[in-house]
Symmetry: C2
Subunit: 426 residues, 2 copies
């Protein structure tokens, strides 16, 4: 059996996963193709760190041009991460007539449109399933299985680090710092966790989901992003007593011409399918006009799950090449313009310090009233601290109220989160 | 824009759904193809029942040969159900060079291999995503996204009627008969619900999952099937107090050379992702060597969700035809032989009537002991009725114990269910 030759750029966690999945699942892979898949070259920056496991099976190169210039190589797999150099390598590979598979969400978020355009011009595959939600095949599903349906809403738990931390705080009553330390100890959070806990990672994935699910092209700046580092165990406890969990969600919401895309912590009803997504797991929940509600749940990261997602792309590319064919992966284009809003309308949860209850509530009600909002539920957490659930309102209303509360006498806003409710008003 | 012509065989719930999805999502569909998709002919048996909605848009025919013989028709969509006539139509369409999409699980369960073989010989597409779990794109996912991974376990909640009934019994304490009546009233169960509640429907879907997930060809007779009609609210209540839910599951379990495929009610831990699948919803939970655990959740039936699944197949076929191409859908073939066993090893839940506790327990322990089993947990439900959880044992052991209990003095087995535990022993 003739081999199809692959080059891998980068041999970190994902690169090693790709190599091992290709090696360990050869029988099944080969049964689906007319070629075996062989890793011919691996590009790394520090060849001295490469172990025998890899160097005995593939040629280790430190100049990526050796890969671009190698006419034997059919498919280039970019799993280095980073933006500029990865982009240069992918462009070089496409220009040289090689199909590309990447797991690089930062790159696809920023340059996915241009790279897809280049691939289409060259009639080559460019696939990036692993860029969103690791092992969950959500991009393929949005591309193929929703091809005859209109998606109206995507909710994602897209960052395993954040979900692990919130899950620890919820299940074990840990503080944010304790939960973060545990995540770092277990390898679910990096030494500098900021891209994860600040929501940037999930925001980038949301940009890719906007394109693949709705055909809407966004920049990262279009996404309203709030991280989880100010999350307080008190709010998780109050939410629990009210029948909610707190989850950091990416929310993509389309209502006619209006589209909102954001990443932040929400109160979510305990009965919602996403409420059971715990620890480092990821999930994507969709609503669509014909299909109704669906959820796709699985590992959002990890060497082998991400490796499998990359390899499924490689196999698809190999099948296409065997047919002298290619597919445009990000091929759903929306012609209509949408109006981008910061956030859909939600009821909010506020936790407030109030010195004099009757005086404080009067002030609060006045501010809510100015924005046309009212209190749907009120509870006392402890002496001088109460929480309310408001009626649904726009982001600008809630922002205006928060702003005014900064200078209000005797009332202090301690925390506020939108409440995700599938039956939300517009 | 030139149209690609489609014929629909059958205009029941699914046929109407296919028609409406194609009509209502034209803009998105067309944006992905070089052709519009047009329903040219619809085959029905009773043309007088066809309403204006359909007859004004397509030619209604009562002789399917008019479709087979029409050289304009590129894709035949079979959504009639039934086996012999549907098979004849699909064979005719393939012989005439037309690609086929079907939602017919009974047919694919029984003749999927032969029909796939015929399609491959004719170099034509034959797709059947909607045959398993309605709107959930599980077959595409198994085919494409698990292409580089080895599935070891599939658990499915595959029959919406059964899940609705169990869910009603669990949430509202209804009896089986009350829950069935409600399911019939709401349209989730047919007047004759036997294929659903007896487990045959889920068994057929399990046969298709065995092929698509594991590359293993089974007959329906290879699947051990038990329905839900003897389910008692008492067992649901006891299970709940022990931290379990009862769910009717299709279980496909591969341990090396051993493969078990069955449909029956299990005790399932409340924390298992499938435990939250309620009412008429379906879900498929997978474990694979590299990917770990995943779950795919959504509507298992219904006009529009099933219609979307069929239409996603149609769009894929149309894309392939535009490239002068086709794909073998059920293309993962396992060369190795597996040893079929009735069931993997499980601990069991038994509910027993015992007249004299010390005497009865002695008898019971004796029988368990003969099979190398012991009691892991014991509780009293009420005077004279107790329940036990056993250590894990083979199906034949549990069957032998049940058999012996039939003639035992003073001990009567009232109910027994296996306990699904992800950490099960072999």
């Amino acid at each position: 059996m003739v081999s199809k030759k692959i080059a891998i750029l980068g041999l970190g966690t994902v690169g090693q996963g790709v190599f091992r999945v290709l090696r360990d699942h050869q029988a099944k892979i080969t049964s689906q193709l007319h070629h075996a898949l062989e890793v011919k070259k691996i590009f790394v920056r520090s060849p001295e760190k490469v172990t025998e496991e890899f160097s005995s099976q593939a040629e280790i190169v430190t100049d990526y041009q050796e890969i671009i210039a190698d006419p034997d190589i059919d498919i280039v797999v970019e799993v280095m991460g980073g933006i500029d150099f990865a982009k240069q390598c992918i462009e070089g590979a496409l220009q040289a007539g090689k199909a590309v598979v990447t797991a690089n969400k930062d790159l696809i978020c920023e340059h996915g449109a241009a790279l897809s355009q280049l691939a289409e011009t060259k009639e080559l595959d460019l696939r990036f399933e692993a860029a969103v939600a690791g092992g969950i095949p959500i991009l393929n599903t949005l591309r193929n299985s929703f091809a005859g349906d209109d998606v109206t809403e995507i909710l994602g738990i897209l960052n395993g680090t954040s979900n692990f931390i919130i899950s620890e705080m919820t299940e074990n009553g840990s503080s944010y710092q304790e939960a973060l330390a545990k995540a770092q100890k277990l390898g679910f959070a990096e030494a500098d966790p900021s891209a994860d806990v600040d929501g940037l990672d999930a925001g980038r994935k949301a940009v890719i989901l906007a394109k693949m699910g709705f055909g809407i092209s966004l920049n990262l700046d279009d996404v309203m992003i709030k991280g989880i580092s100010d999350l307080n165990a008190v709010d998780i406890e109050i939410a629990k007593n009210l029948g909610y969990v707190i989850k950091s969600l990416a929310v993509l919401d389309r209502q006619g011409e209006n589209f909102a895309c954001e990443v932040q912590s929400f109160l979510l009803e305990k009965s919602h399918p996403l409420a059971m997504v715990k620890q480092e797991m990821n999930a994507v929940y969709t609503k669509s006009k014909a299909g109704g509600e669906m959820m796709f749940y699985g590992p959002g990261a990890g060497e082998l799950p991400t490796g499998v997602a990359v390899v499924s792309d490689i196999i698809q590319v190999a099948k296409n090449q065997e047919n002298d064919d290619y597919q445009v992966f990000a091929n759903y284009r929306l012609d209509e313009k949408v109006h981008l809003s910061a956030q859909a309308n939600y009821p909010y949860y506020y936790r407030l310090a109030i010195q004099n209850q009757s005086q404080g509530l009067k002030t609060l009600l006045g501010l809510l009233n100015q924005e046309g909002l009212s209190i749907n539920h009120l509870g006392n957490y402890q002496e001088g601290v109460l929480y309310i659930l408001t009626s649904p309102g726009s982001y600008s209303s809630h922002k205006a109220i928060a702003k005014q509360l900064e200078s209000a006498q005797g009332v202090e806003l301690l925390a506020s989160y939108p409440i995700f409710n599938e039956e939300k008003e517009d």
